[in-house]
Amino acid sequence: MNKNKSLKKILLTIVMALFGILFMSPFIWMISASMKPEADVFLFPIQWVPKHWHMVENYKTVWTTKFPLYYWNSIKVSVITTALSVLFSSMAAYAFSKIKFRGSAVIFIIVLIIYMIPSQAILVPQFLLLRWMGLYDTHVGLILLGSFSVLGTFMLRQFYLGIHDEYMESARIDGAGHARIFWTICTPLVRPAIATYAILRFIWTWNDYQNPLIFLRTKTLYTLPLGIHSFADLNGEFYSLIMAASVSAILPLLIIFIIGQKQVIEGISMGGVKG
């Protein structure tokens, strides 16, 4: 019986692995194409392992275009957006969970309603607003648009709610105000949740295509998704290079995800978090 069961499990693992390979085949194709000379990309049957290696040349070519600039822009925008978003979200989350201020219930419900507004419904006025503020076509504008996340506030609020008030009471007796309680007592206790949210926010900002497309115009300000798209438009015939650029763009996320996978997966399963 037991032997039968583990045999079944092994068989299912093999079936799932085969399905997994099929599922991953677009990625495998991407990586493989990025390492081939252009002439071999569309050879049929597909050469999953390149016969002629062209990896160094492809990546070198990509990295001598504007690509490093796009990379730097993405790092800059994603890091600052993530930092600001975490800061603002955790402050608001603390206010809505640990401070009993007047009107907090009503304000929180308004915030909830804001959460339901699809981002595309406000693109036009946002565009006007940014132009009026002189922030259109700047990274500052892009960063500000991404820094106020209702989602982060909800997520972190759940965790601040989980902190027992006794922790805070003793600090309050010692004369600590909310600023100190927030910074030295509560926030360290919710650090895992903050890490989860930070990783997710970073991934979403890094991959964001819609906002840069609408709020940036100058090529030297482009972030990676926009950069790759314009790169693909320019180099329409050179798929090996486009794939090398795509692999380069996905790689840091993959590393972050594999390092923080436990936290990302837990964070997502916690309450159905979606960007």
Binding site: K8, K9, L12, T13, M16, F23, M24, P26, W29, M30, A33, F42, F44, I46, M91, A92, A95, I99, K100, F101, R102, G103, S104, F108, V111, I114, M116, I117, P118, Q120, A121, I122, L123, V124, P125, Q126, F127, L129, F148, F154, R157, L161, N207, Y209, Q210, I214, P225, L226, I228, I242, S246, V247, A249, I250, L254, F257, Q261, I268, S269, G272
Partner: protein, 314 residues
């Protein structure tokens, strides 16, 4: 999520101001506003104000190029125009078709979640494999799909021709197939996310239910149908609703993969809105589309809030 949001909202203690402690309460209020103010200010400026402006603009004929002095109030003209706009109606219809993505994704990811949860080795590894498309840049992934579906050089059609199909479909270049390709990509991207949430839902089903069913001699299939599926219904319902809202927000997939084409066969509301506002520069008309989008999303959310009680088994 709405359920959990609801419980969050109701768990806020209502503040009572006692005269004796009014000074302390005043300081508490001040601290509360101070902590919440960066978020509230940002939301007010970048979300609340724009949504009000959207309502206003949707009744005008204004465009980016003309100044504010050229704003003309049109009443409901934009909305009556929408009803007769064949491209917009087509994009609305395409959005309805896109909803099929959601049940498809749910079925595949549920099966994967159940299998990976109990029936295989290397659970952690499989979780990563199926989750990778979700964290990857849609732009990069869409470019790969463009290549894979290429009518002549693409590996898919090369394989089909090799198997003897003389005239395989032109996929993204064919108005009859393009939307299905978009749907395929959307399913592929969302499987991992749905699977992870299903797995979390599976954890919350008490193990003794299965043990009891085992003793009663119920087959695995029977257990899946009469224990797993009903007890997962809150999760399924949440994924269904958020998935449907997600299909209405799908912009980047369309924009990169097909640009709404060929012949508008993959145009959807959000992409039409973008084209109208930022390519044709009709801000007022685009704002009317934004209001329609907003109403659609709010309707689905309302269905979620009320439907939850009726259709979900706890």
């Amino acid at each position: 999520m709405a359920n959990h949001i609801q419980s969050q909202a109701s768990s806020i203690p209502t503040t009572k101001v006692r005269p004796k402690r009014s000074n302390q309460q005043f300081r508490e209020n001040l601290a509360g506003y101070a902590f919440a103010s960066p978020m509230l200010l940002g939301l007010g400026v970048f979300t609340l104000f724009p949504i009000i402006a959207s309502f206003f603009l949707s009744f005008t004929n204004w465009n980016f190029v003309a100044g504010f002095s050229k704003v003309k109030f049109l009443g409901l003209d934009n909305f009556t125009k929408l009803v007769h706009d064949s491209v917009f109606l087509l994009s609305l219809k395409n959005n309805m078709i896109l909803m099929i993505v959601v049940p498809l994704t749910l079925i595949i990811s549920l099966v994967l979640a159940v299998l990976i949860d109990k029936q295989v080795y290397f659970k952690g590894f499989f979780k990563i494999v199926y989750f990778i498309p979700y964290i990857s840049s849609v732009v990069a992934v869409a470019i790969v799909f463009q290549v894979l579906f290429h009518p002549t050089y693409g590996p898919i059609n090369q394989t089909l021709m090799d198997w003897g199909f003389a005239n395989p479909p032109k996929w993204l270049a064919d108005p009859d197939y393009a939307l299905y390709c978009v749907m395929g990509l959307m399913v592929w991207i969302n499987i991992g996310y749905n699977m992870i949430i299903f797995m979390a839902g599976l954890q919350s089903i008490p193990k003794d239910l299965y043990e009891a069913a085992d003793i009663d001699g119920a087959s695995k299939m029977k257990q899946f149908i009469s224990i797993t599926i009903p007890l997962l219904s809150p999760t399924t319902f949440f994924l269904l609703v958020s998935g449907i809202i997600g299909t209405f927000k799908a912009f980047d997939v369309i924009s990169v993969l097909t640009n709404g084409g060929p012949a508008n066969s993959t145009n959807v509301v959000v992409f039409r809105l973008y084209e109208t506002a930022f390519i044709n520069l009709q801000s007022g008309y685009a704002s009317a589309m934004a209001i329609v989008l907003l109403i659609l999303v709010l309707l689905i959310t309302l269905i979620q809030w009320f439907g939850q009680r009726k259709w979900v088994n706890y």
